[in-house]
């Protein structure tokens, strides 16, 4: 019993010092520092995978797992999203009934702008994802919005990403309201939830590149650069929120609606973490 007591004591002391240390990384609006978080995440990955340059993380698990990389490179020679890109381009250029098109709703005619999304909208005090902007554009012009997870929305988003390939992500957090949304996304990412008590970070930080049966969770850094993706498991192209829903469900949680505020904040956090990395969507993944 003495041993248990000692262990308990030692643990509570350890937990306390951990709290003191972690406080520096920002759990509150007044202390959260997105830039410090971004650098800390890069440092974490450098430490875990010293041979992987930061710029490689746009390639997900293939940045750190040489064995599956060869297979993936073969797939990418004849990308499974090629047809989706063609269809996406057609949909992008499609004229609405009122004579306008998607290009009218975006800066630079919608070309080469992926790196700015998700974007903080200060009038609405909310994060606007690229997919949300696409559907709102359609609605404003009297068209029916697309479904959120796959099909046309993913294809248009894929085309818009494709025209932005090579551009570095420059997600902006202009004020405290935006920072609160970032903090909410960060908190969601690191919070254990569901019957399996898993956070996003449990698999994609601590557990990244470890084997869960035959699967290796991708590293958290660079997560949003390559979406939308054709996933072999899906057999077609899907948005990042489709993946969020799946991951959330896998923790045995009641999952949220795609494009809900929480998932948009999560995407805001994750994409800020990818600042400095380039857009390379659409991608193909296992």
């Amino acid at each position: 019993m003495k041993i248990i007591k000692t262990t308990l004591l030692a643990m509570s002391v350890a937990a306390l010092s951990q709290t003191a240390m972690a406080a520096k990384t920002g759990a509150t609006l007044s202390t959260v520092d997105p830039e410090a978080d971004r650098i800390a995440l890069q440092e974490y990955m450098k430490d875990r995978f010293p041979d992987t340059p930061v710029s490689e993380y746009v390639n997900g698990i293939y940045a750190v797992d040489a064995a599956s990389r060869a297979q993936w490179e073969e797939i990418e020679e004849f990308p499974p999203y090629e047809l989706d890109l063609e269809e996406g381009e057609e949909l992008f250029n499609e004229q609405f009934a009122n004579g306008k098109s998607l290009a009218d709703c975006f800066d630079n005619g919608g070309e080469g702008i992926r790196q700015n999304y998700p974007m903080w909208n200060d009038e609405r005090k909310t994060v606007v994802t690229l997919e949300m902007a696409i559907n709102e554009c359609r609605l404003q012009n009297g068209e029916k919005p697309y479904g959120w997870k796959k099909g046309p929305i993913a294809k248009v988003s894929a085309y818009m990403a494709y025209t932005s390939r090579g551009n570095e992500f420059v997600i902006d957090i202009p004020n405290d309201d935006a920072k609160a949304a970032y903090l909410d996304g960060k908190k969601f990412f690191y919070t254990k939830r569901g019957q399996l008590n898993l956070s996003c970070a449990d698999c994609h930080l601590t557990g990244t590149n470890r084997l869960v049966r035959a699967d290796r969770p991708s590293p958290a850094l660079g997560h949003s650069t390559h979406f939308p993706v054709v996933r072999s498991k899906w057999g077609n192209i899907g948005t990042i929120h489709r993946r969020y829903e799946g991951c959330h469900r896998d923790s045995r949680s009641e999952f949220l609606k795609v494009q809900s505020e929480t998932y948009r904040n999560l995407e805001y956090f994750q994409t800020y973490m990818s600042n400095g990395l380039v857009v390379n969507g659409p991608g193909s993944r296992k």
Binding site: L196, T206, R213
Partner: protein, 119 residues
């Protein structure tokens, strides 16, 4: 404190005996534990923990291998507690709290303990 210890010890003993009686023979319990350990829709322990059982298939390596269990956990009840809720000792543990979160039943946990305690 000492009183608590003796109560615990006695309870443990009594339960151990009762448990075995309910679940049938020790062999049955080990068979059940093996099933829970490797069953994808049961414990799915193999997803993260290797074990040198010939039936093991696609073992993961997120958690430590099931080896030298008796040396690592001289007190079997502590091994049980680790499976029941690993976050009690380490709040950051990735291991799902198999007992606390009602993922496995208490009997299934007892069976898994018997199964892995052989390794």
């Amino acid at each position: 404190m000492r009183k608590l210890i003796s109560t615990l010890a006695i309870t443990g003993l009594t339960l151990g005996v009762a448990g075995t009686a309910v679940a049938g023979s020790h062999g049955d319990m080990i068979k059940e534990g093996q099933d829970v350990y490797h069953g994808k829709s049961r414990g799915n322990c193999i997803a993260c923990h290797e074990i040198s059982d010939p039936i093991a298939n696609q073992a993961g390596n997120v958690g430590p291998m099931m080896i030298a269990m008796k040396a690592r956990y001289p007190n079997k009840a502590e091994l049980r507690a680790q499976i029941w809720d690993a976050t009690a000792k380490n709040p950051l543990s990735i291991m799902p709290p198999m007992g606390k979160h009602n993922i496995l039943t208490e009997d299934e946990i007892d069976a898994v303990v018997e199964y892995i305690y052989q390794y």
